[in-house]
Amino acid sequence: MVGTIGLRGIFIRFGFLLVFAAFALFFAVVNPVFATGGNLMNIAEGSAILLIVALGMTLIVATGGIDLSVGIALDFGAAFSIVAMQSYGADWVTACAAGVIGGSLVGLLNAALVVGLRVSPFMATLGTFFIGSSVQRIFTNGGGPISFRQMPDGFRNLAMGNVGGVPMEVVIAAILAVIYFVVLERSVWGRRIHAMGMQRSAATVAGIRVNRILIVCYVAAAATCAVGGLIAGASIRMFTPLSGFAYLLDAIAAVFIGAALHPRGRPNVPGTIAGVLFLGMVVNGLNLMGLNFNTKDALSGIILVSALALAVAQRRMR
């Protein structure tokens, strides 16, 4: 393929990026506000929680599984931290720890099912999703939000603070993205995870402790999603049951768009970031166009399908 110039070659190398750019250009022309620095920061801020959830999803998809319970881990993160502060008067650091531990419980259940009982990840995390949703309904007596207006400033800053003008949630998402990138793409651990995801039996024969890695991955992914839950809770100052579900499909889509952009079709952190930013840009751009809520939803769904098709087609043509 070296040296091929022409439309096909350009499409294969840059297809998705070109479409990304075309969309950006289109939105900028329709509404000049789109391309301003402030709005680009809005996109980053709006995508932060999705990126955090999608990072966890990237890890699980890299092990060869899928996690349908990311939203539950996010909800548990928000619920545990807010209840810790409201009912037990915990300070904000303890509350964060409680949230992350609460979210990790979801990962532990998944790990027990996938590793201990060898249930397929799809069915195991679907079961966890049912159970986790029901637990939230029971706990909140049917799904009413738990609001906590007087939260400590430290906790509130997770969503409202900033570091040198960069919103705190963007900073947190960026730090997590760097950690995930180093672990998954640049460390021995990451090699092992990818090896396991590509061929489990070969990885086992090669002496990789598959089960131990799987347990760590499920717990780590859930803990990551719980961090997203902390931010979500801090930004609206309440815990809304079942709100994490909204991130599930977008996270899966972002991970697989990212995987399709990878030369060997593997889920990877930079690809996931590209996928998340693409989805964030589309939502933001459609919002700025002032479309009716339903139309906007339908359009972003159609764009999602097309983006996936394009990303996969681009990889297949290599």
């Binding site: 060898r118 069915m123 029901s134 029971i138 339903n294 939803d297 399908v305 996936l308």
Partner: protein
């Protein structure tokens, strides 16, 4: 999952294998003893009528799984069927509320279902997107389109034909039950009694072997997605009848129940594969459990917990029994 062994399963494995059925039977007996009117013809009717939309979408899904193989992530799966069903119901309801005729409404819904099926088929067999991803994103897109069609409103339907499907009796049974049974029978006939169906099953059993024997596996898989979308179309009328119209948000519950029932059905089958009758039985059992717990006075918040635990128990039994062979 698909390694065929010639030796018959051991007694222990067989006992473990029938555990899901025993568990369900025990649970139904428990409900029957604790809920006063559960073991009555009236409740049975209620359960069956309630389960019909799920029965139909499950039948469609099992065709896709049979043709694509039973690995949930890389094999065949169609999560967009509930969205298709809701879209078709939305189109019919919207058209009828504007004083349109049922005939034209049906044709438009049918065309919409065909379009969804064809897009799924093209994405999976031409472009090579995995079925899980294709149909998950199509679910989002189709639900979005339905919300544009209906403007996210509930639309009541009082067309005589839909009311007939809801209320009419034949030999003392609601007419919708035999009609749904006929749809499921037709799909069963297609899958198990026709050459085409056997070719589809061969594709799911081993794609390589099917290709070597000269089958056009791409075309067969494409066909399975179109048939699944048509099952969604058929289910839409039962949705309209059950809900006396179309309501936004029906798709989420239908999706969860479809997946639950279909894979529960697989746990009942001797070889742990998705089968059409297994899926139908699964759908009816799920409805029975839901209605049973409701009539026992169990809080509705708990049903998700119970359903989730059931999937896990049944699937875990399945994987343990598989290993015990």
């Amino acid at each position: 999952m698909s390694d065929a062994r010639i030796a018959p399963p051991s007694f222990g494995a067989r006992a473990l294998g029938s555990a899901p059925l025993i568990l369900f039977a025990a649970m139904l007996v428990y409900i029957g003893l604790n809920a006063p009117n559960f073991l009555s013809l009236f409740t049975l009717e209620l359960i069956l009528v309630q389960s019909l939309p799920v029965v139909i979408v499950c039948s469609g899904l099992s065709l896709v799984v049979m043709t694509g193989g039973d690995d949930v992530v890389s094999g065949g799966i169609d999560l967009s069927i509930p969205a298709t069903a809701v879209l078709c119901a939305g189109i019919v309801a919207q058209w009828l509320s504007g004083d349109g005729g049922l005939g034209l409404a049906t044709v438009m819904a049918l065309l919409a279902a065909l379009a969804v099926g064809l897009v799924n088929a093209a994405l999976v067999t031409r472009i090579g997107v995995t079925p899980l991803l294709t149909t998950l994103s199509m679910f989002v897109a189709v639900v979005g389109i339905n919300n544009v069609v209906t403007q996210s409103r509930r639309i009541g339907v009082d067309h005589p034909a839909i009311l007939w499907l809801r209320d009419a009796d034949v030999l003392g049974w609601p007419v919708s039950i035999p009609i749904a049974l006929l749809v499921a029978l037709a799909l069963y006939h297609l899958a198990h009694r026709t050459r085409l169906g056997l070719h589809m099953q061969a594709t799911g059993g081993s794609r390589d072997a099917a290709e070597i024997s000269g089958l056009d596996t791409r075309k067969l898989q494409a066909l399975s997605f179109v048939l699944a979308a048509l099952a969604g179309f058929a289910a839409s009328f039962f949705l309209l009848a059950r809900g006396s119209g179309s309501s936004p948000g029906t798709e989420d519950n239908l999706l969860l129940e479809m997946v639950l029932a279909t894979f529960l059905g697989a746990a009942f089958s001797p070889r742990r594969v998705v089968t059409l009758w297994g899926a139908v039985l699964g759908a009816i059992l799920v409805a029975a459990i839901s209605i049973g717990f409701k009539s026992m006075g169990v809080d509705v918040f708990w049903t998700g917990l119970i359903k989730g635990s059931l999937i896990l128990i049944v699937v875990a039994f399945g994987s343990v029994a598989q290993r015990g062979r």
